[in-house]
């Protein structure tokens, strides 16, 4: 299996998904196109382009040859993004970033504890002061007002 064939199949799937989801949106007519008209055109175009990629993808790079050496780090970083998404408004910006930065500096990168503490507290509290207090860009505070 090649990368072009996998990605082509994904594009065809997205196109078909949009065609299916579009059914709740009126198509209108060519003289008065409705909200579903343009998405349908794009979905058809995406299906065609995906099909071309599948058809011509025989000689592309093999999916097995793609290197995933950085994947453990990538998963950890995406996990941090998910954590921020789920908890930042609940526990506040400062506490969330303390935990996320502490994890990345201390656990993932194994930086010396004292430096981890300095960087974690410095960045999470410092950026809160810079953006929220100085630049008046409101950042979330948790239930404890922190």
């Amino acid at each position: 299996m090649t990368i072009d064939r996998v990605s082509g199949a994904f594009l065809v799937f997205v196109g078909l998904f949009v065609v299916w989801e579009r059914r709740v949106l009126p198509l209108g007519s060519t003289s008065h196109p409705g909200p579903g008209y343009f998405p349908l055109l794009l979905a058809v175009l995406l299906i065609i382009l995906g099909a071309i990629l599948i058809a011509r993808g025989k000689d592309a790079k093999k999916i097995r040859s793609v290197s995933w050496s950085e994947a453990p780090h990538a998963v950890a970083i995406l996990g941090c993004c998910l954590f921020v998404f789920l908890f930042m408004e609940k526990i506040g910006y400062r506490l969330t970033l303390l935990l996320v930065l502490g994890f990345l500096f201390g656990v993932m990168e194994r930086i010396k504890p004292w430096l981890t503490l300095v960087l974690t507290f410095g960045f999470s509290l410092g950026t809160f002061w810079l953006f929220d207090s100085l630049l008046r860009v409101p950042l979330p505070r948790g239930g404890w007002g922190f």
Partner: protein, 510 residues
């Protein structure tokens, strides 16, 4: 001509206030840092720092953001010359001869010529922008919906050709981006589309989370954990001034790079990158000693560095005059302008002369500031390169989160950023370019609106797009680009875009 100079005086009177001068300086300094740090391009830099401008008045905010934009072009050369790592994609060609010069103990002159060339190119390009944008805007006032649709389609197709790689993949990214731009309330009928009950998606997925996710987060995902192999060559500052011969050898390349860069910058696509490639190839072609290229030829630094600065300012012509961004960075600038209540387009220069001419004047001053400040401060910027990446990337992640959240105070935007980061990471693995996707997202509402208006005008006849001469011209141009892009697929033979990709890969691996 007289009106232009009157307007320029207006611009300088706007900029010559302590506050705006300070913002121009801060923008240039941040831009240089953004350019110096590998992995933080101008796009992520502008997106992340956009919230810091919310409290500023429009003119100051635009001056600050523009400073980051062209400051990054200056900064990119430092890492290319001292580390053979392009701090910014447009500095790829500078790696070749800039690093070779540094190896020979001539890092100082290489940095000086890069800065001087950038200053000349930047300043002359602002002159071009000043004279070209207003008449182009007047011409575009005659555009109706069919012309706009065809112009935008043409721009996207040209972008997909010029970006490099497979045109089929690039066109699919554009379609994918346009599809992403359909999310939210349909502005003509009021229907919620593809929102799945999430009210925050009513205004669409937003350019800032998309851009930060695709360019900032995906870069972190792809590079975190890689070993820090960073040999930073120390420039000898007492040798900062180029020799007379080096100076003479640089004048021609700077002039040619400026003209080439400005003209290529107007064309959609990765213009600032392509312009460096074209400039390098041209200088090598016309040189009496082409064998010097690759071994520390000053022309190989002067030409490309001038070209990328000129291109970055050339790209502002279609953005400001037509409201059409030609690449992802101008697209983010467009979003930034819109956040501040300004919609670039044919009426922008007429209705917002203070902002437009203030921006022009700030660019003259900013380019001078960059020249005067950057060379003495190059040692400080070099120290930034010594910060290990394992400390840098969590910090960049933090700024991505703050930058995205602060635009709308929305956690949904943070979620979109994460999803786009993952998508961008996977797309990289599958050899897709993400720039066309971003352009698709931002242009989707304008294209769809104009498309539906055009069909309504014609009573449902698609012939309207080929019957009107300007729209027909743009469609023919788009068709030519598609055919050119398909040529390598049919004949299975690489073209200049493949050579550009090879050069980029070669520079990433010292």
């Amino acid at each position: 001509m007289e009106t232009t100079f009157q307007n320029l005086v207006l611009g300088f009177s706007t900029v010559f206030t302590p506050t705006n001068m300070l913002y121009s300086l801060v923008g240039c300094l941040i831009g240089t840092m953004v350019g110096v740090l590998p992995g933080v391009g101008p796009l992520a830099g502008i997106s992340i720092l956009l919230p810091t401008t919310f409290g500023l008045d429009t003119t100051s905010a635009i001056i600050l953001l523009a400073g980051i934009y062209y400051g990054a072009m200056y900064g990119g050369s430092t890492t290319s010359i001292l580390m053979r790592i392009p701090g910014e994609a447009a500095s790829v060609m500078t790696c070749i001869d800039g690093y070779a010069m540094a190896r020979k103990g001539r890092a100082g002159p290489a940095l000086a010529i890069a800065a001087f060339g950038s200053y000349i190119a930047g300043t002359l390009s602002v002159v071009g922008l000043m004279f070209l944008a207003p008449p182009l805007a007047r011409f575009a006032l005659g555009f109706g919906p069919p012309e706009y649709v065809c112009l935008l389609i043409c721009g996207l197709v040209v972008l997909s050709y010029m970006t490099g790689g497979s045109i089929v993949k690039n066109l699919s990214m554009i379609s994918f981006g346009l599809m992403g731009g359909m999310i939210g309330i349909d502005q003509m009928s009021g229907y919620f589309r593809f929102s799945y009950g999430i009210t925050a998606l009513g205004d669409g997925i937003g350019l800032v989370p998309v851009a930060v996710g695709l360019f900032g987060i995906s870069e972190i995902l792809a590079t975190a954990g890689s070993p820090d192999i960073r040999e930073v060559l120390k420039p000898r500052f007492r040798d900062l001034l180029p020799s007379k011969q080096e100076f003479r050898d640089s004048i021609g390349p700077i002039g040619r790079g400026t003209v080439l860069g400005f003209l290529i910058g107007i064309i959609p696509g990765s213009a600032h990158i392509i312009s460096t490639f074209v400039s390098y190839a041209l200088e090598r072609k016309i040189s009496k000693h082409p064998e010097r290229f690759g071994n520390g030829a000053i022309e190989g630094v002067a030409g490309p560095e001038s070209a990328n600065n000129a291109a970055s300012e050339g790209a502002l012509v279609p953005l400001l005059a037509l409201g059409v961004p030609t690449g992802p960075v101008p697209a983010v600038l467009l979003a930034a302008l819109m956040v501040h209540g300004i919609t670039p387009g044919p009426l922008f220069i007429k209705e917002q002369p203070v902002v437009f001419w203030g921006l022009i004047a700030s660019m003259y001053i900013g380019n001078l500031m960059l020249l005067l400040l950057n060379l003495p401060m190059v040692g400080i910027f070099v120290n930034l390169l010594r910060v290990p990446y394992r400390i840098l990337y969590p910090t960049i992640l933090l700024f991505c989160v703050v930058g995205v959240y602060a635009v709308n105070s929305s956690m949904v935007d943070v979620g979109i950023m994460g999803v786009m980061g993952l998508l961008g990471y996977l797309l990289r693995k599958m050899d897709f370019e993400t720039a066309p996707l971003v352009l698709g997202v931002i242009l989707a509402p304008i294209i769809e609106f104009s498309f539906r208006q055009a069909l309504a005008m014609s009573g449902g006849s698609y012939a309207i797009f080929v019957e009107r001469p300007i729209s027909a011209f743009f469609l023919v141009l788009a068709l030519i680009m598609i055919l050119l892009g398909l040529k390598p697929l049919i004949f299975r033979k690489g073209d200049w875009r493949d050579r550009l990709n090879e050069a980029e890969k070669g520079c990433d691996a010292p």
